[in-house]
């Protein structure tokens, strides 16, 4: 029962980056001129989304911090060529850089997913039983995610955890929109199948 509640709570949460959470043009101009305060604001605005995508793609660990810093360094180097448009989300641009970076790293070496620690799944508002449930679900999700291909995982993460539309994902990953739909459908089907035992366990615990 608690497992179902955790999932429902998570569904009600907003994605890490919303459309309203983007920096404005003035901040971008200040970043271009090397303003330290603006750059810090820029990094703080998007660091959670970048860390979230990278850690779920390549597994949690200290290497995620290196990759995230590389994403922001590449973005900073490309800022002079960046043309601000109100209809273009900077988070999408950063996620695109992150996708490319992960693809480049995959060519060199395929990192193994590191199991999440209690620190990552801890929730101080609930008790130890809730923590144990969350840990089990997170571990199951980690194992299930390893069954996805890199392409399926990227599409699934961008759609499910970053709230990107099919068109955005197609532009971001560089594939046709129909391919995005296919990959997303297969990724969800595989995860549903792999996580089904956990849903069954939670159903059995439901009081009658």
């Amino acid at each position: 029962m608690e497992l179902v509640l955790v999932a429902m709570d998570a569904m009600r949460e907003r994605p890490p980056v919303s459309v309203r959470g983007e920096v404005d043009e003035e901040t971008i101009d200040a970043c271009r001129s090397g303003d330290r305060v603006a750059l810090a604001h820029f990094v703080r605005t998007y660091e959670k989304a970048v860390f979230g995508f990278l850690s779920r793609m390549v597994g949690a660990g200290p290497h995620v911090e290196d990759l995230a810093q590389e994403v922001f360094l590449r973005a900073h180097q490309a800022l002079p060529r960046f043309r601000y448009r109100s209809d273009v989300r900077i988070s999408t641009w950063l996620l695109k850089i992150a996708v490319r970076l992960v693809q480049d790293n995959r060519k060199k070496k395929r990192p193994s997913l590191v199991p999440l620690t209690d620190e990552l799944v801890a929730d101080g508002r609930r008790g130890p039983e809730h923590l144990r449930r969350r840990r089990e679900l997170a571990a199951a999700f980690e194992r299930a995610a390893t069954e996805l291909s890199d392409e399926q995982r990227a599409v699934f993460l961008l759609a499910h955890f970053h709230g990107r539309s099919m068109a955005e994902i197609a532009e971001l990953v560089g594939i046709p929109e129909a391919t995005v739909k296919t990959r997303l459908h297969r990724a969800r089907a595989k995860l549903r199948m792999l996580l089904a035992p956990h849903r069954g366990e939670s159903a059995e615990e439901t009081p009658r």
Partner: protein
């Protein structure tokens, strides 16, 4: 975007950025050396340092290898500059043996010399030197000198000279 998938973001927690990530990241963006920006050094400067260390190591190895392979200074001082004569007698030069007059090391120069114009060390004809080595018997005749012979008759006034 969840549609028919009923697991939310909390079901798969992600790694949170450290509290000082933005400060270190901005320092790296502005190329400011900070004590905690070791990761950036490991990524960029680390490559440079590795290459520099490899270059120094290779040059040091090459220097040491050259010193180890060369003879010591005392030994090099007593290396004879002339070849040591062989105890066996020199082979006879009679019988029409060919004699190498030009050293072997001069062959590349011969190849580079223009056709029809032999190098300077080949301009002297070998026929002048070879007979001296092949015919050691009689010494060469002295050069011919004209000595006037005159016969004078006691009664004559005029002497005739040849």
């Amino acid at each position: 975007m969840n549609h028919d998938f009923d697991f939310g973001p909390e079901a798969w927690p992600s790694q949170a950025p450290p509290s000082d990530f933005s400060d270190r990241c901005v320092s790296a963006m502005l190329d400011e050396p900070t004590p905690k920006s070791h990761r950036r050094w490991r990524g960029r400067g680390g490559t440079f340092l590795f290459l520099a260390a490899a270059l120094c190591a290779s040059s040091a190895w090459a220097t040491g290898h050259a010193q180890a392979s060369s003879p010591p200074a005392e030994a090099a001082r007593f290396v004879p500059s002339m070849p040591i004569p062989s105890p066996e007698p020199a082979p006879s030069l009679h019988g029409g043996q060919l004699i190498e007059l030009t050293p072997a090391s001069s062959e590349p120069e011969d190849e580079e010399a223009p056709a029809g114009r032999p190098p300077a060390h080949l301009q002297e004809p070998p026929e002048l030197a070879v007979p001296e080595l092949e015919e050691p018997g009689p010494p060469p005749p002295p050069p011919f000198v004209m000595v006037p012979r005159c016969t004078c008759d006691q009664d004559a006034v005029v002497c005739s000279c040849f």
